[in-house]
Symmetry: C2
Subunit: 128 residues, 2 copies
Amino acid sequence: MSDLESIGRDILQELEEAWNDASGERFGRPFSADAEFVDIRGEHHRGQDAIAGGHQGIFDTIYLGSRVRFQLLQARSLAETVALLHSTADLDVPSGPLAGTLRSIQSLVLRREEAGWKVASFHNTLRA
Amino acid sequence: MSDLESIGRDILQELEEAWNDASGERFGRPFSADAEFVDIRGEHHRGQDAIAGGHQGIFDTIYLGSRVRFQLLQARSLAETVALLHSTADLDVPSGPLAGTLRSIQSLVLRREEAGWKVASFHNTLRA
């Protein structure tokens, strides 16, 4: 496994555990302060705080009790301090309007900061 | 307008003109050889040739006669040779199962190569 794959898996695991513990604050931690997030509805969220708060909102409502599993597809370097990742997610939603399993694909752009590698961009799309 | 915004607008204009001329080959030109493309159905296409060929396929079928308008939302630098862009598109489809106007949002990662700035990653999601 390359270093980038290892870093990517660690970040996805952190996101997965935060999601499954329904913690928006922890979900936001791997993101950079100025990170951008495009969700499955095509909404564009800007900044770690907005990403954390927005996720807490869905953890407490439409995705209450849901569990996610991320899988890294690939990771590659675009520059010494920038990497491009693709991953998939299977999300089991127990009840509500989105009940069932939602399959999605993500692209993530990681940037190495002083505090380590952070997610600068996350873009999520449902898979048909 | 920043240099990156100008570069981003030029690339979006190239994509728009290629789409509106239904040329998959021209649509593929702004992409790097190893570019990755996630489409609105969550399918992951790899490489300029696959992106060009896949687009020619939809230009000739479900998107026959369609016209797109891209709009740059923002462009920012992630490294000296890497930039992150977000844009929206309005696609008018005259007929077929997708007839109507499809609104979408894109994230693009540009990487500066010897031949200039190229699209390394393109991810597209329909807006609700």
